[in-house]
Subunit: 193 residues, 2 copies
DNA sequence: CATGAATTAGGACAATTGACCTACGAGAGT
DNA sequence: ACTCTCGTAGGTCAATTGTCCTAATTCATG
């Protein structure tokens, strides 16, 4: 197997483990075991744990961009695209109830650790923020597009956090419906602003 | 100094450190140093780190109850009480931007660690949830009081998470105002439901 | 087959972790 | 003055951490 393949496998395993257990709680040994490598061999591919973290964040940036592009291709209407974003709360509800939002929990952890990569992690949020803002602008709400984007992002984060604490599927569905209703109201106001 | 005083000092220091750095990232040595005790002496007061965590959660339950009681005494109107809750986002904005919500981030961390105390931490959320629900019931919304309470809790959590990621004070103020507007709308609907 | 670069394995390293033990000292009550 | 309890200090313990090194193995190419 090429070093590039191994490296990608490591990043994907680290991505999953950092999400499920957290960055700090995942050890070098955990990562090596997850891809069936000796610790020594692991070191050949990544010198430090922070290197792995940086690679994971970069990897998430790429896959997130792909996901956003995909939503844009699959939905011609901006409103439908925003709904696609909202509905990941339902599609990923099992994982969210177990481990929270991958982006939100990583940002929180790195903020507490005052880790150098915390701003890089926040860029993952910025990706969603800018994408959502573009959709709201396309809806004719260019003036407050960023504020609307932050509002949607805020609600999805709040739902994720409470879903983790209470493991309540009905709550998720209710709040997702509430976000759909809110979005419809914003669409109706598109010319009024 | 009595053992009880020392114990209380430990719990208060642990409360602060668990919030600022996270539970796992705070070591026995950190805790002992924070209250100027040797590690051996620290062991006299708390046998395990989990014991400290349980004491911190219990301590937070007590102080949270006191805070909620205080809001109830200081505000005769249920709506004013809910606003008092909402406005902790502004009062504590500096800490929230640095370390997030104390309850939300602790629940997230313990969920990832699959820690035995994760349900105890969620009880802190339940405290706010039930208190908010009582206020909404007093507003004449007994039928959906719990759902409204969860909605308010959800929004405050979302604001806290994004505030940590983006360190944006204007965003906090904007969303707090939006919550005040939402609350006023709910109050107007008190008889219509 | 031979060479050499790429990849792997298996440790070693100091530092830190949570946990535990024993000995010392201060001070109240007799 | 004596004891006895409470609180403290310092050190030990195995286990684990992130990091690093070196020797072996693979494998394509000459």
């Amino acid at each position: 197997m090429s070093a590039e393949d191994t490296r990608r496998q490591i990043v994907e395993a680290a991505d999953r483990l950092f999400y499920e257990r957290g960055f700090e709680a995942t050890s070098f040994a955990d990562l090596a075991a997850a891809v069936h490598l000796s610790r020594g061999n692991f070191y050949y591919h990544f010198k430090t744990k922070d290197d792995v973290l940086r690679a994971v964040i970069t990897h998430r940036m790429i896959t997130t961009r792909q996901m956003l592009d995909d939503w844009e291709v699959r939905n011609s209407q901006p409103a439908s695209r925003i709904i696609a974003f909202i509905e990941i709360l339902i599609a990923n509800q099992a994982k969210i109830m177990a481990h929270g939002c991958p982006v939100g929990t990583l940002c929180n952890e790195l903020a507490k650790l005052q880790h150098a990569a915390k701003d890089d992690a926040a860029q993952l949020f910025a990706l969603f923020r800018d994408w959502l803002a573009r959709q709201f602008a396309a809806l004719g709400r260019a003036a407050d597009a960023d504020q609307l984007a932050m509002h949607v992002l805020m609600r999805s984060q709040g739902v994720a956090t409470l879903a983790t604490a209470f493991a309540d599927s009905a709550f998720i569905h209710r709040e997702v419906q509430s976000m759909r209703d809110w979005l419809e109201m914003q669409c109706a106001r598109k010319d009024a602003v």
